[in-house]
Assembly symmetry: C2
Homo-oligomer: 281 residues x 2
Amino acid sequence: MDYQLEYISRYFEKISKKKIETYVVTRIWHLLNDSEVLIVPQQYVKRLESYALTDLYLPQIGFHVEINEPAHYNNIERESLDNLRSEELRRNTTHKVFHIDCRGSLNDINRETDKCIAIIKDEIADKRRANNFKPWQDESEISYHQKRGMLKAEENPSLRTISDICALFDAKVPIRGFLRKGVVNYKDMMIWWPSIGNKNFQNILSEDDNQIIEYSTNEKKRIPHIYAVKSDSRKRVTFFRGTDNLGFTAYKFKGIYELDTESTSIEKGLAWRRIANEISI
Amino acid sequence: MDYQLEYISRYFEKISKKKIETYVVTRIWHLLNDSEVLIVPQQYVKRLESYALTDLYLPQIGFHVEINEPAHYNNIERESLDNLRSEELRRNTTHKVFHIDCRGSLNDINRETDKCIAIIKDEIADKRRANNFKPWQDESEISYHQKRGMLKAEENPSLRTISDICALFDAKVPIRGFLRKGVVNYKDMMIWWPSIGNKNFQNILSEDDNQIIEYSTNEKKRIPHIYAVKSDSRKRVTFFRGTDNLGFTAYKFKGIYELDTESTSIEKGLAWRRIANEISI
């Protein structure tokens, strides 16, 4: 199954218990009818002090869709809380939020959804005209970044595999298997793809992404590891490994980090401090 | 939730574990974009000696869709068996069968599905032009039949509730609750809606629909019931109660039946023989 089909199928399956959401999301997808447009379920949005969750998000145009099932309107408190949340989202970002009212019949919901689809199509057409639209195409992820010559952390560039990362930087792909290293050489730096943890390491990314603490959980290797890194403290182009909302692995570009020797200690581990949010390729 | 939305949502939910089928069915539904068109999952089709099952059926135009997942093509035996089945279906009925090849990418599957959708749209347009298209609209089910003035068993007319049956024949709706009778008077006949069984009765419909055996499972009432019916042996306009593929109750018109006193016995029960396949309203 190709990646796009797998992705969309997983999305539909993930929400299949929510009947109206499934109806509306499948409608948006099929009537947009544009395989260059990415739809993302349940997007976390940073709020002032917490996170908000929208039902569907179109990252290429910064557009959120809230699918309001009938129950949404039965609770005035909940309704006004949701509206407040949308307001805040609009105020704090350049994002747009569209609410689809799903209280009516099938034909009513079709009409409401189609209004939303028309707006999305317009936004995409505008971006395409301005030559500012990054198509969702698996194969072109790498070539898109290469053509652009730049990765910016604020745009959340995300790659699917270590091979993709290496291809982007024209770096040697590390050997697979348990001997695989967690870094490859790149110019005078290294490319690094830490994950939250594996059986040897624990990596903690700070909330603001400005620091990563790398900690060896293997007691015997902890001290030699710190000394080894200190003696070869090249900067690291860093992709933090995580999973997206559908459970796919995603290596998210975070920036360039350098060793912060002052904050590093045997007890705490290696402290990496972000020194750049972007990199030219 | 209105009936159409409930129906389509249940359909999507029912197939949600089959990822490619969900993708294709939701696409067909949304791109047909016509709430007068009914789609039915997993339709049983009578074959010479058994039943075949197609993935999606459009009863208004006698059109079947087979959604062939990649695995379908891995097994030559299975593939040729399926083709044979489709051939037989085409030969024995006026039905059409379209196979969607789902081996390709998302864009390939979109293209294959869209070919199918184009044909379906043509077929529907033809039927509409010929004034021979019965729209799928819950409210109009009754008015459609009334306007037509005729029920034909071969067309599988199906109503959703006893109230709908009574509305169609302008008959008195029986009182709800456990005192509700299983029949209402209609002209010199009765309208009857037997089910396979409840705590008092067992009703067996023959394979060819030509006979119904009505059997009281209450030993004390069995003999009096037979005598009571024999003394009031009005013909019965019969809707056999069942469930459709999505679990909705469906009262399917089968024809007019009269008591076959020769085949009736205390041991066997009341035998009803079909004497007409249609009725004027």
